[in-house]
Symmetry: C2
Subunit: 333 residues, 2 copies
């Protein structure tokens, strides 16, 4: 029988394949383990040696500089080359563990890590546009169609979208971090705050007529802040995407940049971007203070307005401090 023959052949093939898979998996996991062990030993030695160097007062300064650079290069090679996936994991953030459980989000290959980063950038581009357009439409309709009075449903839809958006952003940033990005923790906290704000604003009752122009002042300020956030994101994206491409094009690994100095073309852009960012951060603080005033003078005496005001002021201050710190770190090279 022909079919019988074929079934027998397939069964044999599957068994064979299974055996090769099993032996491959066990062999490679053994080799992986040994690479992992060697990597963490070497990593620890580099650290130890670095502190010996620093504490050694009798060293010739020139020699010291040379040795420091050698060590730094070694560290770069270890952290950015193919060895990087064998270094001990940074523990994954709480947020990731809460939503994903014990799944490993670290990509094992460099090209996938870059893909994750590019996808993050294009996700931000897509959302930044909506960020601008959605509240702009709401505010326009308010003035020309709704006689100064925002209906609750579209605003709440927007707030729900914001909540999901920020949750997605912060999840991706956690993942980027697990994949070795140097993103500052503040930018993650910033997005947790923004999530909290979206959540709080969902419970915020949007009052209608009469007198809604005054009662809805808080909501209006919130929407204006959101539009401004969209502008900030678009600008930042343009800059960061260019930065990534320059890096990829030059084939420089991440940490190497710091040693060898930033690519100057993009660095110039940063100095253009910053005044705009500072202005936006000032506006953020202003909106926050306005909300606080609205809450405290009692025109809209809801706790939601108070919390949103506080969050905005905190975010503005944090953004400012961290932007300044970034600039200071960069100008040192």
């Amino acid at each position: 029988m022909e079919v019988e023959e074929e079934v027998r052949r397939i069964v044999d093939q599957v068994k064979e394949l299974h055996d090769s898979a099993t032996s491959f998996v066990s062999a490679s996991s053994q080799e992986e383990l040994s690479l992992r062990q060697r990597s963490s030993v070497v990593d620890a030695s580099i650290r130890r040696l670095h502190s010996t160097l620093v504490s050694d007062k009798h060293l010739d300064p020139k020699l010291f500089d040379k040795l420091e650079e050698d060590l730094q290069r070694a560290r770069c090679l270890l952290a950015d080359g193919d060895t990087s996936s064998f270094l001990p994991f940074k523990p994954q953030g709480r947020f990731v563990r809460m939503f994903l459980g014990p799944v490993n989000v670290r990509a094992s290959r460099k090209d996938i890590q870059l893909k994750v980063k590019e996808e993050y950038n294009s996700y931000r581009d897509r959302t930044a546009l909506l960020f601008l357009v959605f509240p702009a439409i709401l505010l326009t309709l308010r003035s020309y169609v709704w006689y100064g009075c925002l209906p609750a449903f579209p605003v709440q839809l927007y707030e729900a979208w914001l909540l999901f958006l920020y949750a997605g952003l912060v999840m991706r940033e956690n993942i980027l971090r697990a994949n070795g990005s140097d993103i500052r923790s503040w930018w993650l906290y910033h997005h947790y705050c923004a999530m909290a704000m979206a959540l709080v604003s969902l419970t915020w009752e949007i009052k209608g007529q009469p007198n809604c122009v005054q009662k809805q002042k808080g909501v209006r300020l919130f929407l204006q802040w959101a539009m401004m956030q969209g502008v900030a994101m678009l600008l930042q994206n343009r800059y960061q995407r260019q930065r990534l491409y320059t890096r990829i094009a030059l084939g420089k690994a991440k940490r190497m940049d710091v040693v060898w100095g930033e690519t100057s073309g993009v660095d110039g852009q940063l100095w253009l971007l910053c005044p705009i960012l500072f202005t936006l951060q000032g506006f953020e603080a202003y909106v926050g203070l306005q909300l606080l005033r609205t809450a405290l003078t009692g025109v809209v005496a809801e706790w939601q307005v108070l919390i949103c005001g506080i969050l905005l002021v905190v975010m503005a201050i944090g953004n400012f401090i961290n932007t300044v710190e970034t600039l200071m770190v960069k100008s040192r090279f």
Copy 2:
């Protein structure tokens, strides 16, 4: 110089390590590729042969059964053994892609897959308790402390928690699925619906005095449903954890169960569990209909109440149909 010597040694070690890592990565990715190709070829052949078998009318029925079983065994070996990680990916769900981007959430090793599943179960256990306790406290305080009137804040806190909880559950279920779980899509949709409900209920204004007993009827029903959901989850968890342990203890691979019949001890439990589940589903539908009535007779004429009612009825019907279907599939063996 001693330090100089040591730095040189470390630099050499790092280079060496880097080279072994590079050659390991390239060798293993080549072997992986070939295993991937062989797996998908064999997988396709099994499929093809299966359809040939089924369409071949001249085959002796006994021989047919034997060949079918051989093929099925081959498929099990392929899908559950070490080869499983080389089979073509099921595409990851939209929800996962939206929140995580192009990260691979499939665990490469069987033991990690089991760990993910166990962690999912214990996550559910932890949350099921809160599910029961939180609304119970709210409802008790309402009767004895708050004079029949729920304050908005704790209820909204609970609703926000529900939203995050369901998002986490559905994310983990998507991940389990990517790791080869046979979970029906409905249970995922069920949790999307529950998420939608939590989101909608957040925008639902919780009215205070006067007359809040009547105005808050919807909220009260919602909390009662949540408690009931907690009971269902606890029972289901007990059953499913036992099922997982029996499986692990017997060392049977997942799909094999279906071929060789369920482990009878746990199967008996299912028949005990189901009447309770059906009762709970009945109650779910009842709560939904009550909400619909409240919305339509106009005591609380908010769209949120209407939507929540519809969602509850849909969930009850879907749960019922899918529980019945599961039972039917199981009783066939």
